[in-house]
Amino acid sequence: MPASSATGPASRPRLHADAPPRPGLTSLTPSAEVAWAGLLWTLVRTDFKARYHGTASGFLWALLKPATMFVVLVAVFSLVFSSEPTYKFDLIIGLFLWDFFSDGTKTGMTSLAVKSYLLTKARLPGWVVVVASIANALLTLVVFAAAVVTYLVVWGPSPAPRGLAAFGAYLLALASMVIGISLATSVLFLRYRDLNQVWDMATQAGFFVAPIIYPLGVIPERFHLWLFLWPPTPVMEFARGALVDGALPSWRGHLCLAAMVAVIVGSGALVYRRHAPRAVEYL
């Protein structure tokens, strides 16, 4: 702190802002005003700290929870579905991907409302807040992915390198879709404060629309197209094919998934762009 005749000794440390005004920041665009990468990292880090009370054991629990759940599910399903060895993996993959989708979209929807204390203080890119909000769900997904891949590599059926790469791409596609949905719902939630309850109902029904606890094959083929329009469905089916069955979908399947991601992210960004400028007025 600068020396102050009123309050303190001359040896106080100085704030760097004593330098002349920085001339480079001449426009009030988010990229110029806020170092968004630093903001994103700080939001993610402080969210984890607040959630796990800033303790190492708390953070360790965040890592252990999905890993432990994976071990428990493998053990239980190995007993229950011992006659169908691949079904347990289909089920576990479906459950974890669904958990990420459900958790990520729920926290993404309320992200701007929860961070209203920041958004009303300064202009900052709200999309960073939305993206940061899914970090915890993403961490769980990454730990699960590491656990399932490790298990399959060690105990088989070992997935091919191509399958692993494809699995990574599917996770990226799912995360992109969660961000796209969250961008739209985060601004709409500010106007419709029970949207989270509506979404809760939708995801409850969606759990059974996605082929999580049943194999897609039990549904007549003429309904498959409709089921595949529910975003988690293609990701689950493709991920199971890549990891467990060793069969990648056709290029047309990949194209459809890419188109779905583009439509969801594009629509989410459009809705966000339309409503974000006045979002703060609803906080």
Partner: protein, 248 residues
């Protein structure tokens, strides 16, 4: 515009539309489809124009509800105007609603990082300024205490310390020097003078005639969303006091 103008405000207007019945949920919108609402326009700012020149301190005074806070939020880009234009030719550091906006579950250091990055500091900037921020706020001993255990005065001191570290070319201050004890206020005033000496431009809102008269080269008086007086800080402060005094 001259090269000395940092912010130009032309014909700025802002209206909030207040519904006769408030509907905040999907359920209320669906059930209210057959009951149309009336919207009452509340014009908070009406055709406001002014310039902020490099190196000056411009004060804004006005009674509660005169549009001061909305004007600050528009200038800082937090609100969007309905009409008119704001041209910003310099970076702005907003210091609004001090003491509000902390994450109570985080300690002072994490809140410094959070608020610092929100105000535009890089992580390296925060690293470099952290000790100075805590010392200015006189909170070194409580750096690891969660904000929920802070008094409002401690939280406000921390807010000022961060804001004074994140300062860009233009500082926008809401009710500066209104917090803390006499010693801390004196340090804030000293800090303000240093920033002015370093060439920063300041726009400040205050209800305090002394603050406006003492620190502002120029001032505006807002009433009903319009500028009703403009002049030196001393003159506008006197005019503001006169508006508060019942006419005999």
């Amino acid at each position: 515009m001259s090269a000395a103008t940092l912010i130009e405000v032309e014909g700025l207007s802002k209206t909030f539309h207040i519904p006769s019945v408030r509907r905040d949920t999907v359920r209320e919108h669906v059930f209210g489809l057959l009951e149309p609402r009336r919207w009452e326009p509340l014009r908070v700012l009406d055709d406001v124009s002014f310039e902020l020149r490099r190196g000056e301190t411009l004060g804004i005074m006005g009674r509660n509800g005169s549009g001061k806070s909305t004007l600050l939020r528009l200038l800082c880009g937090i609100y969007e105007p309905d009409a008119g234009r704001i041209r910003r030719h310099a970076g702005i550091t907003p210091i609004l609603e001090l003491g509000v906006g902390w994450n109570p579950e985080l300690d002072a250091i994490d809140n410094v990082y959070l608020m610092g990055t929100v105000l535009g500091l890089s992580l390296r900037d925060v690293d470099r300024s952290l000790d100075a921020i805590l010392e200015f706020a006189e909170l070194e001993r409580f750096a690891r205490l969660k904000l929920k255990h802070y008094s409002s005065g401690m939280a406000s001191r921390l807010a000022y310390a961060i804001a004074f570290a994140a300062v860009r070319e233009v500082l926008v201050l809401d009710e500066i020097f209104a917090v803390g004890d006499a010693g801390f206020r004196a340090r804030c005033e000293e800090r303000y003078r240093q920033l002015r000496a370093a060439g920063h431009t300041v726009l400040m809102v205050s209800h305090d005639p002394r603050t406006i008269g003492l620190f502002c080269d120029r001032a505006l008086l807002l009433d009903g969303g319009r500028i009703v007086a403009e002049g030196s800080g001393v003159d506008v402060a006197a005019r503001y006091v006169a508006t508060l005094t019942p006419q005999g």
